[in-house]
Every structure is written in structure tokens, then in C-alpha cells.
Amino acid sequence: MNLFTSSIITTLLMLTMPIILTSASTHKNKSYPQYVKTTVSYAFMISTIPMVMFLYSGQEVIISNWHWMTIQTLKLTLSFKLDYFSMIFMPVALFVTWSIMEFSIWYMHTDLNISHFFKYLLMFLITMMILVTANNLLQLFIGWEGVGIMSFLLIGWWYGRADANTAALQAVLYNRIGDVGFIMAMAWFLLNTNAWDFQQIFAIEHENLNIPLAGLLLAATGKSAQFGLHPWLPSAMEGPTPVSALLHSSTMVVAGVFLLIRFYPLMEHNKTIQTATLCLGAMTTLFTAACALTQNDIKKIIAFSTSSQLGLMIVTIGINQPHLAFLHICTHAFFKAMLFMCSGSIIHSLNDEQDIRKMGGLFKALPLTTTALIIGVLALTGMPFLTGFYSKDLIIETANTSYTNAWALLTTLVATSMTAAYSTRIVFFVLLGQPRFNPVIIVNENNPLLINSIKRLLLGSIFAGYLIFHNITPTTIPQTTMPYYLKMMALAVTMLGFILALELNSTTQTLKLDYPQNPFKFSIQLGYFPIIIHRLLPMMSLSMSQKMASMLLDTTWLENVLPKSISYFQMKSSITVSNQKGLIKLYFLSFMITLILSFFVLNFHE
């Protein structure tokens, strides 16, 4: 097993090399991005060795390297957990990142700080690796927060724009709300199990785990943009497209789902939290799919589809199938990264145009991107035998046959059908029909950096699901037989979505709607969420802090009660008590009396 641990350590160390050696003179030249990309690709290749070994032998390993400190009875070490999840996830993430980096060499080539950008991307990946391989909560938290901060830096990459800064701040704010849950869970585990190591936490029998699991669910809600804490994810589209691709595929947003997967030994016995998870996921997947239906920004549609897929993953955890959720994370990474790269290619070709109403007819101008986009969209909707099919179909089948509440199931099915609808919408508006963009634009996708990276993910989107699916060991035994209509349900709702969307789209060509319908308004306003939550709450809390905390309490009450009132009373009392009032005439007059008296006394003393 020596090769196992050493190749993992090699992978992790290799990734840090470009950052550690950044000040060396060899890394200051223009080939730094190329160097980072190559490093990631080598890291991917090395990381497949332990993956294959793991799949062959199925042996979990924990590497415990460096003793950080021992506080009373709590021992904190730097330790890596190399189990099924981390061993599969690492090659997937590295593969996807490799392609994204190659893509961003092309996409960001005009940026002056491109080396800097690659450093950030790499650190983003490293923090995700820390998160995935962590064996204790503190180390997981380091990765968790690191991912959040790196996303802040990357979303706010174009810092001159106010929108980018707002989006970056939003991302941190929503994640921070989730972090409170994480910290609460940490505190609870420390108090009740006196351990932060996963093995020790799972080894102890617990009576009531509602508090820590609710904390972890809150953490996952923040990080994976579930309903309530979701608005940061579409806003994060302010960042460069490679960032969106990385953020939405293999890092950051799946971290929340990953956390819940890590804690499934505790969650599988707690029905309360499972139901909460199920409902939260179902609500998210429907709500964000509904929002995606009417968006006009191509990146926003894909962003909302990510949110919807994350909701589906959370639903899967809610029906107690963490391995399926994990499978969906892995398959989703391929086609989602590819979708973003396709949209990046389109946006770049059309001179930074993101509105799908101003595209159209691109299937002739951008053949490879079109191919990739269509395959990505089909994989997203769960077209049989593409990557998405293996996870999505299985999830919906399992949900259909499990004892779950019908509301959540129905919601998920409707959302699945909507996935097909908005996917059709992208294809319809972007690729088909007449070109609606400026004819002056010269569209060109013939750059090996672009083509190779998309091709690689294209292969992944077709085959990866099959490969990973055959190496998965389900936790709870899946239903082997089911009625015909349940088996076909997933496909049927998807087909329904396709047909409906196609019909609606052709209707819009001929018919004109009189006025915006209410559901349309709901969808295009993102469920009135930004208006209510982003206007009302900040206004309330900021005016509270100004009016109450600062003006009323600090500058009025506290100032008046202590210093001002004391000085006032001192002054008043000293004025009252003192016999020196500044009455100069009177004082001189009193001198007169003395003078006159002394005059009399001195002269008439006989």
C-alpha cells in the first residue's frame, strides 16, 4: 500500500508547488499559466493510480502526518481520509480543473494578471482538496472557509466593477450564515463526543443529534446554495466564466452536499433531519428550475440549473442515498463545466454578449461548441446513456420507489421536467433560428486551447457516468423491480418538458402575449427574492445599526448618561457651591466697606 499513500501525497504536494515556487524567477515569465495547467494534468494522472488501487482493493486509508496540538483530551493532527468519496472525487475534480485551466488560458489571455488568476484558481482547487480529504472537522473547516474566501477573490476578480464586488460580498455573506451552522456543529461535537475526528464521532452512539445535524444542514444550505440562501449563486456569475465553471462543477457548491455525504452515518438514523433535507432539496430544485425558465442571461440559466441540480443532490441525501448523491456530484461536474465553457466560448465569440435573445443560429458558426452544448444539455436532462442519465435516472427511480412524502416527490418530478424545458430554451435561442447578433463580429472557435479542453470534457460527459456508475457501491439496497410506469417516469417527465418547451417556443414566434403573466413575473423576478431579502433586510439592519446602535445608544444615551451628565452636574454644583461669582463691582464695593471701616477705626481709636 505504499504506492497508495505516496501517490496521494505526491498529488497534493504537486498542486502546491506552483504556489510555493511563485517567487522563483523561473515562474515570473509568461508561461506560468501553462505550467499550472500542466501541473494539474500531471496531478490528475498520478491521482488515478490510487483511485484504481482503491477500486481494486477497496481499502480505506487514513494518513496522519503532523501533530498540531493536543488540547486537554482533544488531539488535533493533520490527517487525510482516503475513502471512497475522496478517492473518486479527487481525479474527477483534477480532470475537470485541468480542462478549465486550459480553457482559461484562452479565455483570459488578454488579462494582464493572468498568472495571478491562475494562482487563485489553483488555490481554489487546493482548498477543495483539503476539504475533500480532511479527516477531522477542523481541517474540513479550513478547506471550507478557504473555498469561500477564494470564491470571494475570484468572483470579485474584476474589482473595478461595483457588481462584481457586490456579488463577491454576497457570496461570503451567505456562506458565512452557513458557517455559523458549521461552527455550532463543531461546538456540539466537541462538547458531547469530545472529538473532531470522523471515526470517533461516528463511533459514539447518540441519543439526539438534531442540533449538530441541523447545523450541518444549515452549513450545506449556505455553501450549496439551497433555498433561502441561494441568491449568491446566480450573482456569482459576475466573475469570469472559468471561475463560474470551476465554482459550479467540482468545487465550492458541491462542498455542502459533500459535507452531508460525509456525515451520512449520523444522518441515516435521524428521520427528522432527513425529512428536512428532503423538503429543502425539493423546494430548491423546483424554485431554481422555475427561475431558470425565464432568464435571458445564458450564464444565469446555467447557474440556476446548477442550483436545481444541487437541490436534486440534497433530495437524494434526504431519501438516504448518499452514494447516489455523490455519483451525481461526479457526473454533474463534467457536463456542467462543459456547459460553462461552451457559454464562455459563445460569449467570447460574440464580443461579450450574454443575452440569449441576441444570439441565434450559432450551430453553423460554432460547430464544435454547438455539439458540446447540445450533448451537455442532453446529459443535464438525463438523456439515456449520456453521463447524466446514470445518476439522475437512478435518483428519480429510487425516489419513486422509496417511502417518501408525495409532495417532495412531485416537486422533484416537476423540476426535472423544467430542466428539460429550460435546456430546450437554451438550444432554441442560442443555436437555432436566424442569427440575431451583430454581423460585424467574426466568430472563431479554432483555438486548440479551446477545442481540446471542450473535447476532453465532451468525452467525459459521454462516458464518465458509465465508468463511475459501474464502480459504485450503493449503501442501501436499491429496488430491483418496479412497475413499468415508475421505471419510465423520469424519462417521461423529461420528454414532457422537451415537448412543452418546444411547443411554447414555437408559439412565441407566432403569438404575442398581451401582458406578463403572474407566474412569469414570479420567475423572472427570481421569486421576488432579491427585492424582499436584498432590499428589506439590509435596509432594516443597516438603519438599525445607524439609528439605534450608533445614534441612539452610542452618541446619545451612553454619552449623556455617563460623561456628559457627570460633567454637567459637576459644573452646576460647583457653580452653586462656589462663593466666587465674578461680581467685580460688589467685591470692590466690599473693599470700600473695609476701607471706610479701617479709616474710622484708625482715625477714631480713642
Binding site: I149, G156, Y159, G160, A168, L169, V180, S545
Partner: protein
């Protein structure tokens, strides 16, 4: 102990005898050497204390604070150079003398073995600080700030003197080391409550507790850079240090006398950090963030569990370095834009990218990014508070969120955005400034490799 105290005293003649062009370099180098000596105190076993004489000792609670004090003097000297460049030579020397005196008093305060000696030195630190604030501050409001600073702390600490005299009368000694063996549990009576209040109030004002904190933003805003640095980094920690030392005297009473102060701190922590969200004045924002962080320390000290003490000590050191760093950064902005208003410095990242990196790191440590020692401190405090009462997690959580918000608000307002016209002709950042920031961050980062050193005696 004398091997720090005497060299510190000799800094004064060094200052006055140095050639005009050498005063900064001589004093900085010399004080840096002193701080290197004090590093040796950090290395001690947990329940052992280094008794230097009948007057001075350090243990693992005071040693990190002591090292922080000595570490900060060279940094203060480095930070003040530009600010004093237009003053005459004598005044520069006087200023340095004041800083040296302050360090001398602080060292002796942190290592005093007798409570009365501690008290006298605690009060003595007011004098140089007051001189620094009221003489070298930038605006006329500095006089008012000095007044607030002096009277809040004096009024708070006079009852302590009486309480100490009373305790001396009862116990016969105020020696820290002996006290823990001689101490009797206080009877549950009204007079013991007043004793508790008298003992704690002095330190709570110094921390400062919410409600008694008005002097702090004023003093911070008006003080020159070195004054702000030392106030935030060390003088506030005197309060926390004193509280941790004196709670041994007040043993059974703290458990129920703590409630109102704990509530006040938990409430004030959120109030002050939400005030930060609305600040336009950079220094005032950092000052309020200090109040909010110190509220955590107060809560931790009042809970009195091993974890909370560890958290409090770690947080004090971490906050000392971070807030001092933030003040230095604020000052470097001030020297360029001549205003403390944040919005005037926006877009500086384009012009001063390295400074932006320091800003980023400072903000991240301020919002306690793992694995910095700020996080260790905060996490331990949160854990201790959570075990004290589960509901406090809502308040703590709100504070964590707001802390992140204002730290990043500060970062975004000063560094991000479009560059404005009036900053286009600013000076580049000096090596001196970059070294200053690096010397703040270096201990922060190194300590996160081995946080044991600053976890205090109960670790």
C-alpha cells in the same frame, strides 16, 4: 526580568545620544533586539512560572503578552517615522522616549508579582499614553479624547485601589503566587458584591465593556499611529490580563455576578459590530471592531472554564497583532489621501497592489479565517459559550456574520472599485511600510503553526 527592563531603560539615553539621522534606526534595531530576548519567555512548561525575583515573574499567561509588548515597540517606531518627519529633533526624541516609557511600564505591569505594584504600573501606563494622544494627535478633538480616556479609566480603577487595600488587610499579602493558596471563598453578602464590582470594573472599563467603551473610539481616532497601535494591541489586553488574574480572588461570586456583564457583552458585541457597518471613518471602524472583539474576551473570562481561558488568551494575542496591523494600514492610507474617510481611498488596489495584499490578509485574519490564531481564539470562545448556554450561538453567530461583513466592507471600500483621480499622484508604498506589515503578519502566521504558546496557563 532585569535583562529586559534595563535595556528598555537604556533605550532612553540611546535616543537622546543618537545622531539626528540615526535616531530611528538605532532605537528600532535596539528594541527589536530586546524583543528577541523576550522570546525566550514563551518557551515554558505549562504550570511552571518563571520567578525572577520577589517583584517580577512571568507565567504562560503573561509571557505572550509581554512578548507582544516588546515586539510592538520596534513596529511602532517604524510606523511613526513619516508622521514625525516634520517635527523638530527634540520632539522626535521626546516622542520616542514616551513610547519607551510606555513599554517599560507595560513590561513591568505584565510581570508584576504584587497586585499593588500591578495597580500602580497599570495606572502609570496612562501617563505616556495620554501624552502621546494629546500632544501628537492630529486634530483639536484629541484633547477631549484624552479627557475621556483618562477619566473613564481613572474612575473605573480607583475603587480597585480601595478593594486591594481591603484585601491586603484581610489576607496579609497580595502576591499573585501566594494568593491562590491563601484565598478564602468570599461570603455571599452585599459587601462582597461591591468588592467584586470594584475589582472587575477597573478592567472592564479598560477592555472596554460595552457601555463603558466611549473613550476607546475617541482615543483611537485621535491618537497618532503609534498610540492607536499600542492602545489596540496592548493596553486593552491589560484589562483582560487583569481580569484573569483577579478572578482567583473572587472565586464563588463570579459565577452569578457575571450574568449582567455577560449579557451586556453579548449584546454590545453585536451593537458595536453593527456600528462598524455604518462607519465612514476607517480608524473608527477598527476601533469599534476592537470593542466587539474584546467583548468576546470578556465573555470568555467571565465563563471561567479552561477552554474559555484558552480562547481568551489566544484571542487577545491574535487581536493585538491584527488590530495593530489594521491601524498601520489605515495610517498608510491616511498618509497618502490625508483623510480617514474610506471612500476617498477606493481603488487603491490598482495603484498599490502589494498594499492590497496586506489589506486582504489583514481583513481575513480579522474575520478569523482558519487556521489563523484568531480562529483558534474565537472558536474556543464560541465552544465555551455554547456549552455555557446553547442559545448564545445565535448571538455569537450573528456576530461572526457581521464581523465578516464589515471586514470585507472595509477591504472592498478601500481597495476595490474604480481608481479616483485625486489618488493618482500618491507615493508608492515604502519598504519600511511593507516591512511593518510583514512583521505584523509573520508572528500571526507562525503562531498558527504552534498555537500552544499563546493558550495560557490552563492549556
Amino acid at each position: 526580568m532585569l535583562k529586559i527592563i534595563f535595556p528598555t531603560m537604556m533605550l532612553v539615553p540611546l535616543t537622546w545620544a543618537s545622531k539626528p539621522n540615526m535616531i530611528w534606526i538605532n532605537t528600532t534595531a535596539y528594541s527589536l533586539l530586546i524583543s528577541l530576548i523576550s522570546l525566550t519567555y514563551l518557551n515554558q512548561l505549562s504550570d511552571n512560572s518563571l520567578n525572577f525575583s520577589l517583584l517580577f515573574f512571568t507565567d504562560s499567561l503573561s509571557a505572550p503578552l509581554l512578548t507582544l509588548t516588546t515586539w510592538l515597540l520596534p513596529l511602532m517606531l517604524m510606523a511613526s517615522q513619516f508622521h514625525l518627519s516634520k517635527e523638530t529633533l527634540t520632539r522626535k526624541k521626546l516622542y520616542i522616549t514616551m513610547l519607551v516609557l510606555l513599554q517599560l511600564f507595560l513590561i513591568m505591569t505584565f510581570s508584576a508579582m504584587e497586585l499593588i505594584l500591578f495597580y500602580i504600573l497599570f495606572e502609570a501606563t496612562l501617563v505616556p499614553t495620554l501624552v502621546i494622544i494629546t500632544r501628537w494627535g492630529n486634530q483639536t478633538e484629541r484633547l477631549n479624547a484624552g479627557l475621556y480616556f483618562l477619566f473613564y479609566t481613572l474612575v473605573g480603577s480607583l475603587p480597585l485601589l480601595i478593594a486591594l487595600l481591603h484585601t491586603q488587610n484581610n489576607l496579609g499579602s497580595l502576591n499573585f503566587l501566594l494568593m491562590q493558596y491563601w484565598i478564602q471563598p468570599l461570603p455571599n453578602s452585599w459587601s462582597s458584591m461591591f468588592l467584586w464590582l470594584a475589582c472587575m470594573m477597573a478592567f472592564m472599563v479598560k477592555m472596554p465593556l460595552y457601555g463603558l467603551h466611549l473613550w476607546l473610539p475617541k482615543a483611537h481616532v485621535e491618537a497618532p499611529i503609534a498610540g492607536s497601535m499600542v492602545l489596540a494591541a496592548v493596553l486593552l489586553k491589560l484589562g483582560g490580563y487583569g481580569m484573569m488574574r483577579i478572578t482567583t480572588l473572587l472565586s464563588p461570586l463570579t459565577s452569578f455576578m457575571a450574568y449582567p456583564f455577560m449579557m451586556l457583552s453579548l449584546w454590545g458585541m453585536i451593537m458595536t459590530s453593527s456600528i462598524c457597518l455604518r462607519q465612514t471613518d476607517l480608524k473608527s471602524l477598527i476601533a469599534y471592531s476592537s470593542v466587539s472583539h474584546m467583548a468576546l474576551v470578556i465573555v470568555a473570562v467571565l465563563i471561567q472554564t479552561p477552554w474559555s481561558y484558552m480562547g481568551a488568551t489566544a484571542l487577545m494575542i491574535a487581536h493585538g497583532l491584527t488590530s495593530s496591523l489594521l491601524f498601520c494600514l489605515a495610517n498608510s492610507n491616511y498618509e497618502r489621501t490625508h483623510s480617514r474617510t474610506m471612500i476617498l481611498a477606493r481603488g487603491l488596489q490598482t495603484l498599490l497592489p502589494l498594499m492590497a495584499a496586506w489589506w486582504l490578509l489583514a481583513s481575513l485574519t480579522n474575520l478569523s479565517l482558519p487556521p489563523t490564531i484568531n480562529l483558534i481564539g474565537e472558536l474556543f470562545v464560541v465552544v465555551a459559550t455554547f456549552s455555557w448556554s446553547n442559545i448564545t450561538i445565535t448571538l455569537m453567530g450573528t456576530n461572526i456574520i457581521i464581523t465578516a461583513l464589515y471586514s470585507l466592507y472595509m477591504l472592498i471600500t478601500t481597495q476595490r472599485g474604480k481608481c479616483t483621480n485625486h489618488v493618482k499622484s500618491i507615493k508608492p508604498s515604502f519598504t519600511r511600510e511593507n516591512a511593518l506589515m510583514a512583521l505584523h503578519l509573520l508572528p500571526l502566521l507562525l503562531l498558527s503553526l504552534n498555537p500552544k504558546m499563546i493558550l495560557g496557563p490552563i492549556y
